[in-house]
């Protein structure tokens, strides 16, 4: 797996994973990306082309166990031949200070298109995975990941 760009987000304070004993932190001075900004970013990547999610399998938790290290994995259905392969996969999050989480670049020689990494999520938000196929089309899948203060279960 060749990872040309792996850009961890959240250089600032993120939700430290707290119990009820310590309340959630405030982010009043931090500007967050929002759904609109992420939509614009996806438009940049895809030049406005609509993508579907039929070839993308996403592995994300419903509720993050640790907002500082949330596992995200994808598996994209592609023959990965010279004529038909995945060129790149972008991961974006719409509730972090900066929406870009990671970009993975692929070549046909890799034989398969899957990868996993850990990301930091500051709060409950949508995570988008955009796949750029070699024929110029795109795939697009997303899921909501909840980040909670926890405690009290049982």
């Amino acid at each position: 797996m060749q990872t040309l760009v792996l850009k961890p987000i959240s250089r600032r304070q993120a939700l430290s994973y707290l119990g009820v004993a310590a309340a959630s932190l405030t982010f009043s001075r931090i500007a967050f990306a929002g759904p609109d900004e992420v939509k614009a970013r996806i438009n940049d990547i895809t030049n406005g082309a609509a993508g579907d999610n039929t070839r993308i399998t996403l592995d994300l938790p419903e509720i993050a166990e640790n907002g500082n290290a949330v596992k995200v994995a994808f598996d994209i259905d592609s023959p990965m031949t010279q004529d038909n392969y995945v060129k790149a996969v972008h991961i974006l999050a719409d509730g972090n200070p900066e929406p870009d989480v990671a970009t993975f670049n692929f070549t046909p020689h890799m034989g398969a298109c899957h990868a996993s990494t850990r990301m930091r999520l500051s709060k409950t938000q949508n995570v988008h995975v955009i796949a750029a196929f070699s024929d110029g089309s795109f795939g697009n899948a997303s899921a909501l990941v909840k980040v909670t203060i926890g405690g009290c279960g049982g």
């Binding site: 166990e65 926890g150 279960g153 049982g154």
Partner: protein, 564 residues
């Protein structure tokens, strides 16, 4: 996800099944009830599954008042298990005042409790299990433990789960799964699994470094000539609902794709019956039943719901066998040509006064408790009112705990977690150490004292409320609402996150709680590893001892809006 209409149809269909209750259901008084009545059952097929779950350390019979509030939202509104009181009785066709009415609802609870007595006790359960094994033949019965077994009593805390492991071993279960077990820490869990001698199954726990499965997911059993696969599912939100540091390096999660893969693999390996032994909770497992194919039976736990028989969702039977040892779940299955063709189920209430205790188990429990018996029975006060915990919002035991925290830690506002475990005391009963630990027995008991702003308090209430009332059960953690003392608020379960909580008022002054203002708050069971403060059971003992007769001061702290 199936539509509300479809769910309502399930509910209606399941209600129709309840035509043939055993005779004890209509018995209006205890003297009419017998052990044989409890065991009477129209047996079916070759295989019997027995299900115990959420015993929470209760070796002895208990009072456990069923909830007055158990709201469902979205697809789950108004269907089992989200029915209480008269609605529950009507839905299941149960006679008010009958044994089954007492076992399953809080209608006329105190007076029926005085008539029917306590339920549970592992020695009584042992009698029932032995009788069913004798009736069906040992080789036809599987006994499965749904977890939350090791934690919840004075002796379970003092022995760090060893008492329960030792007593359960006598029942010879075939497999178990876990949740509060993990709050004894990874090392202790591994030690006790060694001790058990039967599988601790769970296909949904992976180590975070290599993403490798920590426990076996599946065990295969030959019962009545049928190949039965049991797939385990530990409580998916253990590292969130409980301290993550206690399971550092292990990742949980619902992982429905993994369940599907394990089901398919078990079928491939020749399983004719597939059982999911689950600690997901009732609504999560309703969604699993509707979305994962090929499961014959889900034995669910965690949410402590008890309904009289299994419900059917598509081709899956879902049975929920209550909590605290009050019930023993049973499903009989008839298999032909590798498929389940017929089934019958019941949840047997373990009426302790009419079941002869199993001598071997009774002696074993006595021996386990002997070193602690004097302390367990030490009386520290008297219940001035009915004291219970279970319910979506405040219960009277937690009102007492909040009173104790406010007084002993000198704070304006107290928070007590929405645990579903904890037994009941009738008004006038003595409060023993045993009783007090059924509310507080745990490994992270520190009572913190710190300043929160009004906004932080609201954020906490909103967050916990979403974990209870998110319309998608996969986003619920399964606890009830955090209990409050010293303040009151309105709650709209059907609203969206961030707008469910309103009108927060400080009870002492009657003034609204202001977002920017700071308030001194005390609470316990924080998942933060650095929490400092006295243990809740020590604080509560001091408070009860000083009070003598304990009556909660406030039970009007939450006004629920928008629900029928």
């Amino acid at each position: 996800m199936r539509s509300r209409r479809e769910f309502l149809q399930f509910a209606a269909v399941s209600a129709g099944v309840f035509a043939a209750y055993p005779s004890f259901v209509t018995a209006a008084a205890r003297q009419k009830l017998t052990q044989d009545d409890l065991l009477s059952f129209d047996a079916k097929g070759q295989v019997t599954l027995l299900h115990l779950t959420d015993i929470h350390g209760q070796l002895k019979p208990v009072y456990f008042r069923p909830p007055s509030e158990n709201y469902g939202v979205g697809n789950f509104e108004g269907i089992p298990p989200h029915l209480v009181g008269a609605n529950f009785l009507r839905h299941f066709g149960i006679e008010p005042g009958s044994a089954l009415a007492y076992a399953h609802t809080m209608v006329d609870y105190e007076s029926l409790a005085r008539s029917y007595g306590r339920l549970g006790g592992l020695d009584r359960t042992a009698t029932l299990i032995k009788a069913i094994r004798a009736e069906r033949g040992d080789g036809n019965v599987l006994l499965l433990d749904g977890g939350d077994t090791w934690q919840g009593s004075y002796t379970s805390l003092k022995t760090q789960g060893a008492d329960m492991v030792s007593a359960m071993k006598l029942l010879k279960p075939d497999a178990m799964v876990g949740h509060w077990e993990f709050t004894f820490g990874k090392d202790r869990v591994e030690e006790l699994i060694e001790e058990m001698g039967y599988p601790f199954l769970g296909g949904n726990v992976f180590d975070t470094e290599w993403d490798e499965q920590v426990f076996e997911s599946t065990a295969f059993f030959e019962r009545g000539g049928v190949n039965v696969a049991v797939i385990g599912q530990h409580f998916p939100y253990t590292p969130i609902a409980n301290p993550r540091h206690m399971v550092e390096g292990w990742s949980f999660g619902i992982r429905p794709d993994k369940i599907q893969a394990n089901v398919d693999a078990a079928r491939e390996a020749g399983a004719e019956i597939i059982v999911l032994l689950s600690h997901n909770g009732f609504d999560v497992d309703q969604k699993i039943a509707a979305t994962v194919t090929g499961i014959d039976v889900i034995l669910t736990g965690h949410t402590h719901d008890a309904i009289p028989q299994a419900i059917r969702i598509n081709d899956t039977l879902l049975l929920s066998s209550g909590s605290h040892g009050k019930y023993l779940g049973r499903i009989d299955l008839k298999v032909e040509a590798g498929r389940v063709v017929d089934a019958a189920s019941t949840v047997i209430p373990v009426f302790s006064d009419v079941i002869t205790p199993d001598a071997e188990m009774a002696a074993h429990i006595d021996a386990l408790r002997a070193p602690y018996e004097a302390e367990c029975n030490r009386v520290i006060g008297t219940a001035g009112a009915l004291l219970y915990r279970r319910g979506n919002f405040n219960g009277s035991w937690d009102d007492v705990i909040c009173d104790a925290i406010r007084q002993e830690r000198d704070v304006d506002i107290a928070l007590s977690p929405g645990f579903r475990w904890g037994t009941t005391l009738l008004a006038g009963q003595p409060i023993t150490i045993d009783d007090m630990y059924t509310q507080t027995s745990m490994n992270y008991p520190a009572v913190y004292r710190m300043e929160f702003t009004g906004k932080q308090l609201k954020d906490i209430l909103e967050d916990v409320c979403d974990n209870l009332f998110n319309p998608d059960p996969f986003f619920q953690q399964g606890g009830d609402m955090v209990r409050v003392g010293g303040m009151r608020y309105r709650c709209a379960p059907k609203a969206s996150m961030g707008s469910r909580i309103s009108d927060m008022v400080l009870t002492r002054t009657g003034a609204p709680i202001e977002a920017e203002k700071s308030y001194m708050v005390g609470g316990w069971a924080s998942v933060n590893p650095d929490t400092k403060g006295p243990a809740i059971y020590d604080l509560l003992e001091n408070y009860i001892t000083a009070k003598g007769v304990v009556t909660p001061t406030n039970s009007q702290s939450v006004t629920v809006v928008g629900m029928d």
